[in-house]
Symmetry: C2
Subunit: 260 residues, 2 copies
């Protein structure tokens, strides 16, 4: 019998505040160009964030015990290139800063030889499930914060202020079963998929996204109608907004493509 491991193992080494998770681009995780799909990649980022938080004692499960949940507010991904079929890569992640109501989590994506595929930054709030209010993280745990925060910087710009002028949706769709994650709302990475799906084949034949910024403002739920507004800001730069039926903004995104 051939026995292989298909899942993340318990931590092996803990020498500092950085978690490292090793992956390879596996069959059926690529897009049609043979590059790791944004869907798999984005969910790997979230998975690493979740596992690293868990191994530090403030993961999904631990927070749920006190009826709190981590909510993703901002996500910026900037890549020189995307790993391709059969290639390996690792995701390193650490807590960058803790503010009053937010905390930064940073990522570097590396090849086995140590070259950088790129970086990502994320901003999270810890929300009280019952009141829906963000927790004051400065009071979170002085001790824990001292242990957890890592001073390592990443060389990409943080999130910008995204404005979308278009008033006519270029696409309308419903939030369905497969869009939802365990929190009961549309998965944060699924919005990236939905936004990439606004573009024609030509876009992916000749260019690849080099930077994607996501700014999450509201959740959307099963059955809600999502409207997509897009500004073409030229030179491969686009701004997108997703609004719910009542006009409420759900997500804003900025995308930058470069020649592939």
């Amino acid at each position: 019998m051939i026995t292989q491991q298909g899942h993340l193992q318990p931590p092996k080494v803990l020498t500092n505040q950085v978690g490292r998770y090793d992956f390879s681009v596996e069959p059926f995780s690529e897009d049609y160009t043979g590059r790791l799909s944004w869907s798999f990649f984005g969910n790997h980022l979230l998975r690493c964030a979740s596992l690293h938080a868990g191994s530090c004692g403030f993961g999904y499960k631990e927070m749920l015990e006190s009826r709190h949940v981590w909510v993703l507010s901002r996500l910026v991904i900037e890549l020189n290139s995307m790993p391709q079929t059969g290639e390996s890569y690792s995701i390193e992640t650490w807590v960058g800063r803790i503010y009053k109501q937010f905390t930064d989590r940073l990522f570097e994506i590396k090849s086995p030889a140590g070259n950088s595929y790129g970086y990502a930054s994320s901003v999270w709030a810890l929300i009280d499930i019952d009141s829906r209010q963000p927790m004051d993280l400065s009071a979170f745990s002085e001790n824990k914060r001292m242990v957890v925060v890592e001073e390592r910087q990443i060389p990409i710009k943080g999130s910008s202020r995204i404005r979308v002028k278009s008033t006519t949706p270029i696409h309308v769709r419903q939030a369905n079963y497969s869009d939802l994650d365990i929190n009961g709302h549309v998965n944060s990475i699924r919005y990236i998929e939905m936004i990439l799906d606004l573009f024609p084949k030509k876009q992916f034949d000749t260019t690849i996204p080099k930077r994607i910024e996501m700014a999450y403002s509201s959740e959307s739920y099963f059955g809600e109608k999502l409207e997509f507004y897009l500004d073409d800001n030229e030179n491969g730069s686009y701004a997108v907004e997703i609004r719910k039926n009542n006009g409420e903004s759900v997500v804003k995104a900025a995308l930058y493509f470069k020649p592939s």
Copy 2:
């Protein structure tokens, strides 16, 4: 630094013709009910098929060298239950039979204690990329066949003949970037997602799919319009057909739900 493995390891043990791959239900791989999503599960099945074929010497890469590609023709999945958040499971897979133009690949999904979550069967053809003709597998390799075929049976029914009477589509959508896999056509498992997305929340609040049959007849490509036809055959039984713009049948499916 915390170091973890996020990818399948090279084979550890090879004692017979069955490949076993171990997984756990990881963060962001569940649906909103906390069960492993059909999308992740289905892609795990394909991944195990691909890796096992590769380790037997007739995987995607090896076949591509002679300009052949494995094409999925039928897939039947029948589950008593689906693994949930934090649970582990293994997928065992083996080649059941080799016909003239098709080969069966079977699967059992087990808990760590050895209890069965359920089974799956699949039928594949090996297609010549240039002529699009199926290869005669009886001439494939007498020696290889002897080594590979495993006599182990599974206790679920094979695929049935699916008929859909409806003539009015209940949904229309385009095949987009995120729907495609490395073969450049809509991913086989993505059709399962698309079909599950035809159902309202009520369906998943009170029932779960116990059996899904998929019969693939044509590929669909970036930009093609997909029409969904659905027959409600009562008692949780549904038949679905997806047709392309020209009326050509792409996929037929039969779904059976049971109380959750």
